[in-house]
Subunit: 366 residues, 4 copies
C-alpha cells in the first residue's frame, strides 16, 4: 500500500470498520486486505444467522493461502444489524445481493456510510457506482442520499469483471470516444464465491453462462462512463455486447475486447493513452491505489491470469495484445484480479476516497 | 457411421488408404476413425524420420481412451515418400504444416489424391478448402490441379476452429447475408497436438494467444463462403475479427460469436435456419455425415465442451445461447469437436465426398 | 454387454426395475447402464421429496456425456415409498446413506429385493457385501434376511474404491494369503456425487481426506474376504491401512498398494494369478460381467485414470506397475471406474447374479 | 528471511554467486530467492549452449508470478565453464543431472564450492547429501573432497520429495527409531521442470510413475539418516517403499506416510516431537531457515498443496492427519514446497550453513 497513516490530514486514529458478510470469499479478502491498513481497522465481523455467535475461525472456511489475522480469529461473529455494530464508524459490505438489499438500506438508514461490493443497489438512482480513477465526480450523488437518510448513504463498486473493463474504457472514451464494443470473458472461480461451481462441472470443461453477468456489463459501463447532471445520472451513449464464460482458474477475469471508437486511434496512440492513465484522484495517493492503474504488456501471449493477476498488488488492470481490429478499430486482452480490483480492493479504495474527501463521518461519540 | 459398404455404387472393395503423419494426435484419430469404415481401409502408416522403421506401437504415444486397432499395432511405420506407399489408392495427411508443404506436393505430383488436414496448402489458388455441407461446388478446382500434376491433387479441410464456425455461418449467410462478425474462442488442448502446452502453463491459467490462428479465421472463412468463378476463388465480402484462447479442456473448441447480418433475423428465424440446415450433399448419405450438421440447444448454459462435443459422434456442430446482440444482430455460443469435425472426421468426410463423386481414382494397377 | 435376453433360462419378459435415488450421479449411471439391458427394464424413478412430481428431465441435472433415455425423460419422479413402486419386481438403490437407512429397510420389509449401492447396511450382520467374482457364496445370508422380512432382503456392493481393491486382493489372497497392506488412493470427483467439492477447492490442489473412507477400506475388505459360517460372517484376519485423497479427475479411483503375503510370490506369479482370475461365477456369463475382471498392463506409466478407466466398459479393474516392495512383498497401482465397477455396474451385476440364481422373485401378480 | 547482513561475523561484503542452469525453473527460483539475500549476491548467470549469449530475459521463459530482478534482466547468459565465472566466490547449480555430472566436477576441480540441487553426485561416496536441520555433521566429508581437488568441493541437497520426508523422519528416528515406511506421493508439476508433462496428459488424469523417483526415496533417506564414520557414509538400517504420482498441482509435493517405529509412540508423543523439532543448527539463525522446520496442523483435511505450501516462506514442512496406523504405528500426510524447501531454498540454506561455518572461501583475489 502506498498511503501513510498521515494521509488523511493528520488522522490521529484509525477508522473503526465493520465488515458485513465477513465469512465469504470477498469478506475474507477484505479482512485480510485491511489488516495492515494505515487508515482503517476492522473491529467487527458480521454475517448471516448461520454464523452468528460462532468464532470467526469456526464460521469462515478460510480459503486464502495467507493466514487470517490472529487478532480476529476468535472474535464472535455478529448479526448484520446496525445496533450490533454501534462502535463502527462505517461498514464495508460483502453481502450477497439478496441479503444486501435490505441490510444495506437498514445501515444507511441508521446513519452508517455503507461501502458495498454487492450488486443490490448498483442501479439505484442515487447510488454512485464508483471507481475513484474513473468517476470520482459521481460522489456528488451522495448528498442527495444523505438528505433522505439522516446522514447515512450507500456507495458501491462495479461487478468484478466490469471493474476491469471500465479501467481501460475510461481513458479510451475520454481520448477517442467509445461507441460500441464486444467483450468475451473467461472468468475465474472465485468470482462465484464459496457457493460456486462444483469441480465436477469445470474439469475438462467451460460453462458459457454466468446468470445476470452480461446485463451488468451493459448497464454498469454506461452508468459509470455517464455524467451527473441536475442530481441525476445520465448514462453514456454506448452499446455493449458481452459473452461470459466460467473457466477453471482461481482468480483473474480475462476479457477479449473489440472496440469501435468515434475518432480512430492507432495502436500506438491507444497504448500511450492507456499506459499514461493515472485517473482523477492520483494526487490523493490513496493507500490501495496502484502506482499505475493500467499496465500495458508487449509480450504476444500476455496477460495470463496466473502470471499477471497480482500486478500492482492485484489493483492494476493489465492490458495486452493491443492490435487493430478488422471489424472495429481496436482489440485487446484485459485482465483484472476479480477478488482485489474487482471486489475487496475496490471497496477499500472507495472508502479511502471518501475518507480523503472527508465524507466519512466519525460516527459514534467517543 | 451412417453409410454402408454399397454406398459407392456397388463398391466391391474398400479403397486402400495411406495415412501421412499417422503417429500424431490427428493421425491417431484418423486411424481410429477409419478402422470400421465401410469404404476405406488403412493399409499404410507413414510418419517423420524419427518414427520410420519402428512399429506403430513404438512410434505412436497412443493417447486415446480407445485402443489402437490391433491389426495395425505391429505394422512398421514408413517414410512419407510416394514410392513407399505405392499400394495406396490415396493418402490422408495429418502432417504438420512445415512438413506438409513439400510432402503433399510430392504425393500429388506422383499422381496421388491427397486429402489433407494440414494448413500448408489451404490458401493455394487451386486448392479447395472443403467442407462438404458448405461448399461442395469448390471441388471444381480439382480439375485445374489435375491437369498440372498427372492426375494427383490436394484437397484440404479448414482449421479446427474454423471448421465449426463455418458450419453456422453457411446457413446464416445464405439466408440473411453475413457482413461482419467478432468471435472469441476457448480452444482445447488437443488442437495443439502432442507438442502442445505444458501442464505447468495451463493449470489455473489461460493463454490468450494461439500463433497464426486469428488470421486463419479471417482468411479461411472468406475463401469457403466465397465462390468459384472462371477457375478462380472469389472470397466472400465479409469482415471477421477473432480472439483466440487456449484453455485446459481436452477436446472441443468453444466460440462466442456476435454477427451482423445484411437482412435482420429474429432469434427464431435464425434458430430455424440453423436447425434445418442439412448442407449440399445430404442426399449422398456419406458415412461420416451426421444426421444433423448443426444442433441448436435451448438450455441456457450449453453447449459445454465435455458434455456436448461428442454429439453426432463428434461431427455435429452445437449451437446454444442464441440471442440478440446489442451491438450487431445475433450472438451465440458454438462448439465443435476439434479433433473430429475439425480434423480427422473432416478429412474422412472430404475423402468420402470425393469417392461418392467418383473423383478418387483406384491408383495402382491391380 | 455380453449377456442375451435368454440368458436367464428362457426368460420371457424383462424384470421391471425401480431406481431409488434416480436423480443423483449414480442414479443417472444406473438408468443409463440399464437402458439396453437384456434382462432388466427401468419402469419407475424415485428420489427425494425435492424431486417428487417433477419430470425426470427437470429433477435430474443430467451430467453424463451420453443422453438420458428419451423414454424416461418425461416420466414423473416418485416418492421413495414401497406403495409408489408397486409394479416393480425389485429396486436398485442409489440413495445416500442417511436416506437409505430407513428407506431400504422399508422396501425390504414390504417384500422387495433391494440391491443397493448405499453404505447404510453394508455392515449389517445379515447383509451380504457382494461382488459376484469374489464372494458369491455370501448370498447364503440372504435366506436369514428373508425369513425375517416376508421375502424381501437387501444386498449391497462395496464402496467405490474398495470395489477395485477387492478384485485384486481376492486372487492374491486365495493364492498366497494377504496379511497386511497399505493403500493410498487418488479418488475422482464423481465419487463424491453431485454435492462434491467446489472447483475452487480442487484447482491446483488435492484434498487429503475423504470422511469415513479409510474406515470402509478396513471393514469392507475384511468382511468380503471372510467366510460365512453358521449363518454368520467371519471377517478375514488381515490388516489394512488406507490413505485417501480427492484429486481433480472426473472418474476413476487410482490406488497405490503395498501388500504382505503369507507365501511369498514373485512378480511373475502374482501377475499370472491376477490375469487369469475369472471369479466364481464366470460360467453364468452375466450381462455386465467383463470378459476379464482384471487387466494387467505392462507399460511403466499405467494405469492412468483417463486412458484406462473405460476398459471392459468400466467393469475391468486395471493393475499396473506390479513390482517387488522393499517393505512388503509386492506393490502395484490399481484403477477402478468408481461410477461403473464401483457403483452402477456393481449393483447391476449383483442383480444379475440374483436373477441367474433365481433369487429374484417376480413380485406383483401379473 | 530471518538472517541479517552481519549474521556471518561482521561480513563486510556479500558473497558473489554464480548460478548454473539459471534459465530453468529451479534456476529462476534461485535467482528470485537470492535477490534480497543478506549474504549472497548473484553476479553471474550460466546455462546451456542454447542460451549462451542471449540476455537473461530472452533465454529464460520466466514463469514465476513475481518479476525477475530488473538488475539481471539484460545480463548476458554465460557458458557453464569455470573460466567464464572467475569473479564468483562459489556457484549454485540448478543443472539437470546429465549436464551436472561433468560440469559440477569441472567447477569443483577448478577450486569452486559447488552447492548443487542436481541429483548427479548425490550418491558419490564423498559428497554430503545435506539438510542443515538434519545432518549438518555430514559436512565432515567436505574435507576429503577438498584434499582431492585443490579446495573445491560439491555439496548437494536431496530430491525435492525426499527433502520433505526427511524433515519428518529425522526427529521420529532420533526419538523412536524408524524401521520401515511406505510412502505414496502426489507430486506437483514444477517438480518436473520446464520440460514437464504436457497439459494434455494431466487434465482429468494422474500419471502413476516418475522415472527414478522411487529409488531416490530409498537411497537418499538411508544416506541422510546414516552416519559418517572413518571418512565414510554408513547408511541407516531402514526400509523404504515409495509409490510416486504426478498430479495437476503447480507446486507442493503431498505425501501419505505409514511408518513403523522401533519404540512405539502415541500420536501425542509424535506430534510433540515433530512440532518441537528445531534441527541441529537453529542457533545459527541462517537467513533461509524457517522459524519452525515442521508445522503440525490439527484440521482433519490438511495439509493441502495450494493452501499450505507457502508456510514459512515455503521452507516449513507441513504435517497433518497424524493418526495411528492399523498396519504400522503411525500414519500422516506431509507437504513440502518442492521448488523452495525441495530445491532453491534447500541449496541456499546449504550455502548459508557453509558460510556460517566458514567453509566458503572467498575465491578470487580482490
Amino acid at each position: 500500500m502506498s498511503g501513510s497513516a498521515c494521509g488523511v490530514g493528520g488522522m490521529s486514529e484509525r477508522y473503526r470498520v465493520g465488515v458485513l458478510g465477513a465469512t465469504g470469499l470477498v469478506g475474507q479478502r477484505l479482512v485480510s486486505h485491511l489488516e495492515d491498513h494505515p487508515w482503517f481497522q476492522v473491529v467487527a465481523l458480521a454475517a448471516s444467522d448461520r454464523s452468528v455467535g460462532l468464532s470467526y475461525r469456526e464460521a469462515a472456511r478460510w480459503s486464502l493461502p495467507v493466514d487470517a489475522p490472529p487478532r480476529l480469529w476468535d472474535q464472535k461473529v455478529r448479526a448484520c444489524r446496525p445496533d450490533e455494530l454501534k462502535e463502527c464508524d462505517f461498514v464495508l459490505s460483502a453481502l450477497t445481493s439478496q441479503v444486501a438489499r435490505e441490510v444495506e438500506r437498514a445501515f444507511a438508514g441508521a446513519g452508517f456510510a455503507v461501502i458495498s461490493n454487492s450488486s443490490a443497489h448498483r442501479q439505484a438512482p442515487d447510488v454512485p457506482l464508483l471507481v475513484p480513477e474513473v468517476n470520482a465526480d459521481h460522489l456528488a450523488m451522495v448528498e442527495s442520499q444523505r438528505r433522505g437518510s439522516g446522514g447515512g448513504f450507500i456507495v458501491t463498486n462495479p461487478n468484478c469483471s466490469v471493474a476491469g473493463l471500465i479501467m481501460a474504457l475510461a481513458p479510451l472514451h475520454r481520448a477517442f470516444g467509445v461507441r460500441r464494443l464486444v467483450v468475451s470473458t473467461l472468468q475465474a472461480l472465485s468470482g462465484a464465491g464459496t457457493d460456486g461451481p462444483r469441480a465436477l462441472e469445470l474439469v475438462d470443461n467451460v460453462v458459457p453462462w454466468i446468470p445476470g453477468e452480461e446485463e451488468k456489463f451493459e448497464q454498469e459501463t454506461r452508468k459509470m462512463l455517464g455524467s451527473v447532471e441536475g442530481g441525476k445520472f445520465i448514462p453514456a451513449d454506448m452499446r455493449v455486447s458481452a459473452h461470459c464464460h466460467r473457466v477453471a482458474t482461481l482468480d483473474g477475469h480475462l476479457q477479449a475486447v473489440s472496440v469501435e471508437l468515434a475518432s480512430k486511434a492507432t495502436v500506438q496512440q491507444a497504448s500511450r493513452v492507456l499506459s499514461e492513465f493515472r485517473g482523477d484522484v492520483a494526487e490523493l495517493e490513496l493507500p490501495s491505489s496502484p502506482e499505475r492503474p493500467i499496465l500495458v504488456l508487449e509480450e504476444p501471449d500476455r496477460p495470463q491470469p496466473r502470471l499477471d493477476r497480482d500486478r500492482g498488488d492485484g489493483m492494476s488492470v493489465v492490458v495486452g495484445r493491443l492490435r487493430t481490429c478488422p471489424v472495429f478499430n481496436l482489440r485487446f486482452e484485459l485482465l483484472v484480479h476479480n477478488a482485489v480490483r474487482g471486489a475487496a480492493g475496490a471497496a477499500s479504495l472507495n472508502a479511502e476516497l471518501l475518507a480523503a474527501r472527508e465524507m466519512l463521518p466519525r460516527r459514534p461519540a467517543r
